[in-house]
Amino acid sequence: MAEEIKVIVFGLAHEEYGIEVDKVRTIERMMPITRVPKTLAFIKGVINLRGVVLPVIDLRGRFGLPESDATDSSRIIIVAVNDLEVGFIVDSANDVIDINTDSIELPPEVVGGIKAKYLRGVAKIGGSRLLIMLNLSEVLNKNEIIQLEEQEV
């Protein structure tokens, strides 16, 4: 079934990623983040988003990419999956595009060093542009985080 979907495009470590627009609540500029102790390194803390306290994850850290300092173009993308609401820190958020679901191909084993299970697929747009579609429920999988915590202890 070919279907047009709207996708938010954001940049992370020189690659372009996509999240379906209906999963994104808002995109915010960087704001003060309150550190939460005794959590994994990639959980940067919590923010006050108009009266609601939300956790913020550094997506670079989540994917095991080298972390970098926030720049002017850094953004926090607030996503909502199931009952979880979380902010992702990304290098930039720049575009909303339509893509055809047919153009999403299954992810190759390794893309930019990120484990394939976090990916829904890779979409080819235009000639040479590749868009990595995220599998949000895997990215926010709490069981995996619990496992990670156990490894750390």
């Binding site: 003060p32 959590t39 959980i43």
Partner: protein
């Protein structure tokens, strides 16, 4: 008609009615002669029946109907309540409750109730254990059929005659070619109701409305108008052929009742029944006066119902939304206060102060809106204790006080199960069997007190019984056996520490495992559940005298007073409820004992806990300080001192959760938003004192 819109209303109301039924039946069990209570029960049952029938829950309606039949006999003094009837009615209630639960769960409310219905019908027919009652009930049953008049109705009519009103016996015949019999009959009834009061009719009103009558029907009515006016009124309805009106006086009414009784006694072969019959007929005059007060107790009950404070049902989600909006306002208020303090303009400061006062009042109201009397939890316990005592074959009296104590809705929702556990525990392990109580020189009936009361910013709930008390030696042995403590540790434990051992996971002192408690899951679950809503549980016990469990709960879970502190660049909030005091101590007063830092606090040594270490706050270097700010916190009877960088001050904070993604963060119980819009984490002092 779409019934879904009414379903939630139906569920709420049927819950209320079931609760009322339960309560009143218990009350009635204590005073079986009080017909006033039966009237109240009957009304509840009747309403419930009506509602369920309207909603199409036939099983619910029919079971209620059978119960109503029994109650009807009772309230008309034709049946004496006894244990069998109480038990059957309670069973019926249980079945009703499970049906309603099924409906709440999206089911159809169907359930297998044949045995209960059968025993209810047996009660109505009178052919259960009690022979005398059986013949009595049978006798009255037939007298009802005989004349369509029971003695309650005739007593009403006798009273009306005595009061100078006219009572008529009206036979209305509709024309043979009448098409809308029911409609015409309705018009007649309408007229009769306008001109007086209909006592009864044959066939019944329902049957007439369903056109289940041939051409004529009979009505007994009390009217304030003359016979002629009555006839004209009825015959003015079209398609009515004739109305035969007989004015009844005392004698003719008694005759009607008497002939019915005679007719019935012919039908009944039992001499005993016949005897009852004659008695009944003779005593009808007496019954009239005896029954006269019956409607009177009902009247004050209704009046009381009218004066009850008027309420509306509000979806809890709306209250939550209101609460959220209010907390936004609170954050802005704090921000405004800060700004006003910076700008220092008189008129601005005054306005902000006024706003502070108003929002303080508003806060009180908003919090009160969410407050529910703990009654809603307590009211299921009398029944539970009754059943439990029966199962355990113990005699127990439950005394509830302070049921009007109010608690936040969220706390109320959570506190029910722990209290059930504690009560079960008290009945099973605490109260001894009657024989051993008598042997110990105690009253045969054990007493369980359930109390709730306010104290400061907390609500206390106590469960106290006068049972055997905690056997500390046994507790120690079991704790050692189950590996909760080592033998060495056990020797050093104080009495109260031994008592607290029963809250440890995997602990159970019951010699044999029973259904009620003693599976070793219970008290530890109670403890953790209460801790999860910010409360605390403790136990006091005197061997041979009894045990008291006491639960301390926060008044509310949404807005609390807290002390704001700084650790370097980070800000944290510590709930005021667990702070004993704050102070500053010089570095040299900190002592090291066995590697732990301790301070001398009012004559005792208490541990010093570095908050920045616990929270990994690296921007605050404690070692560089010459004087340390401390916050002394308390958990139960243990105290500890937290070292902090700087005090900011006391503030009302709004509790926010960290969201579903971040759960179980050690030593952090939530977050709040400060006046400057930043998020501050709330420290959980209970997690810091082990």
């Amino acid at each position: 008609m779409d019934m879904n819109a009414y379903l939630s209303m139906f569920i709420d109301e049927s819950k209320d009615h079931l609760q009322a039924l339960n309560e009143n039946l218990l009350k009635l069990e204590g005073a079986p002669e009080d017909i006033g209570i039966v009237q109240v029960i009957f009304r509840s049952a009747h309403t419930l029946k009506g509602m369920s029938a309207t909603m199409g829950f036939e099983d619910l309606a029919s079971l209620t109907h059978e119960m109503e039949n029994v109650l009807d006999l009772v309230r008309n003094n034709k049946l004496k309540m006894d244990h069998f009837i109480f038990d059957t009615l309670f069973k019926g209630l249980d079945a009703l409750e499970s049906m309603v639960q099924d409906i709440i769960g999206g089911g159809t409310g169907k359930a297998e109730v044949t045995p209960i219905v059968a025993s209810l019908q047996a009660i109505v027919k009178g052919d259960y254990t009690n022979k005398a009652a059986a013949s009595e009930a049978a006798a009255f049953g037939s007298s009802i059929e005989g004349a369509g008049l029971d003695d309650f109705q005739s007593s009403i009519m006798l009273q009306s005659i005595d009061a100078g009103l006219s009572v008529y016996h009206v036979v209305v015949t509709v024309r043979e070619d009448c098409i809308l019999k029911a409609a015409r009959a309705y018009m007649v009834f309408d007229f009769l109701e306008r001109s007086g009061e209909i006592v009864t009719s044959a066939p019944s009103v329902q049957e007439i409305e369903q056109e289940k009558f041939d051409r004529s029907f009979t009505v007994f009515t009390i009217a304030g108008i003359s016979e002629e006016e009555l006839r004209q009124g009825i015959e003015s309805v079209s398609e009515i052929e004739a109305a035969v009106i007989t004015k009844l006086d005392r004698e003719s009414l008694l005759q009607l009742g008497g002939s019915a009784a005679q007719g019935a006694s012919v039908a009944s072969a039992s001499p005993l029944a016949a005897q009852a019959e004659v008695n009944a007929a003779q005593s009808q005059t007496a019954a009239a006066s005896a029954l006269a007060p019956a409607p009177v107790p009902a009247a004050p009950a209704q009046a009381a119902g009218g004066s009850v404070t008027r309420t509306i049902r509000v979806d809890i989600k709306r209250l939550d939304a209101l609460m959220n909006l209010f907390s936004e306002l609170l954050i802005d208020r704090v921000r405004l206060e800060q700004l006003a303090a910076e700008i220092r303009r008189n008129d601005l400061t005054e306005t902000v102060e006024h706003m502070t006062r108003v929002s303080g009042d508003l806060q009180n109201i908003v919090l009160k809106l969410r407050m529910v009397p703990i009654e809603s939890v307590f009211n299921r316990f009398p029944r539970m204790v009754r059943d439990l005592a029966k199962t355990l074959d113990k005699k127990v009296e439950l005394i509830i006080s302070g049921a009007d104590t109010e608690l936040d809705r969220t706390v109320i929702d959570e506190i029910g199960d722990p209290l059930v556990h504690l009560l079960r525990n008290s009945l099973d392990h605490g109260i001894e069997p009657s024989a051993s109580r008598v042997a110990a020189g105690k009253p045969e009936t054990g007493t369980v007190h359930l109390r709730a009361f306010h104290s400061g910013n907390h609500v206390f709930i106590e469960v106290e019984e006068d049972g055997s008390g905690i056997n500390r030696e046994k507790v120690k042995q079991i704790a050692i056996k189950n590996g909760v403590v080592t033998a060495d540790e056990a020797k050093r434990l104080t009495d109260s520490e031994i008592n607290m051992l029963i809250f440890e996971p995997g602990f159970s002192t019951a010699d044999k495992i029973s259904d009620i408690s003693g599976r070793g899951v219970g008290l530890d679950v109670v403890k953790s559940k209460i801790a999860s809503i910010g409360g605390n549980v403790s136990v006091e016990s005197k061997e041979g005298k009894g045990t008291k469990f006491s639960i301390q709960l926060p008044l509310t879970l949404s807005i609390i007073s807290a002390m704001l502190v700084k650790l370097g660049t980070e800000k944290y909030a510590i709930p005021l409820s667990s702070i004993v005091e704050t102070g500053i101590i010089p570095r040299e007063q900190i002592r090291k004992i066995h590697g732990n830092r301790m301070i001398d606090y009012r004559g005792s040594l208490i541990p010093l806990i570095s908050l920045s270490q616990v929270l990994e706050a690296n921007s605050f270097l404690e070692e560089e300080e010459q004087e340390t700010e401390i916050v002394v916190i308390r958990k139960g009877d243990k105290t500890g001192a937290l070292t902090v960088d700087e005090f900011i001050g006391q503030s009302e904070i709004v509790l926010k959760s960290l969201g579903a993604y971040l759960t179980n963060i050690e030593a952090i119980s939530g977050a709040t938003i400060l006046g400057d819009g930043q998020v501050a984490l709330i420290v959980d002092p209970n997690a810091l004192i082990k």
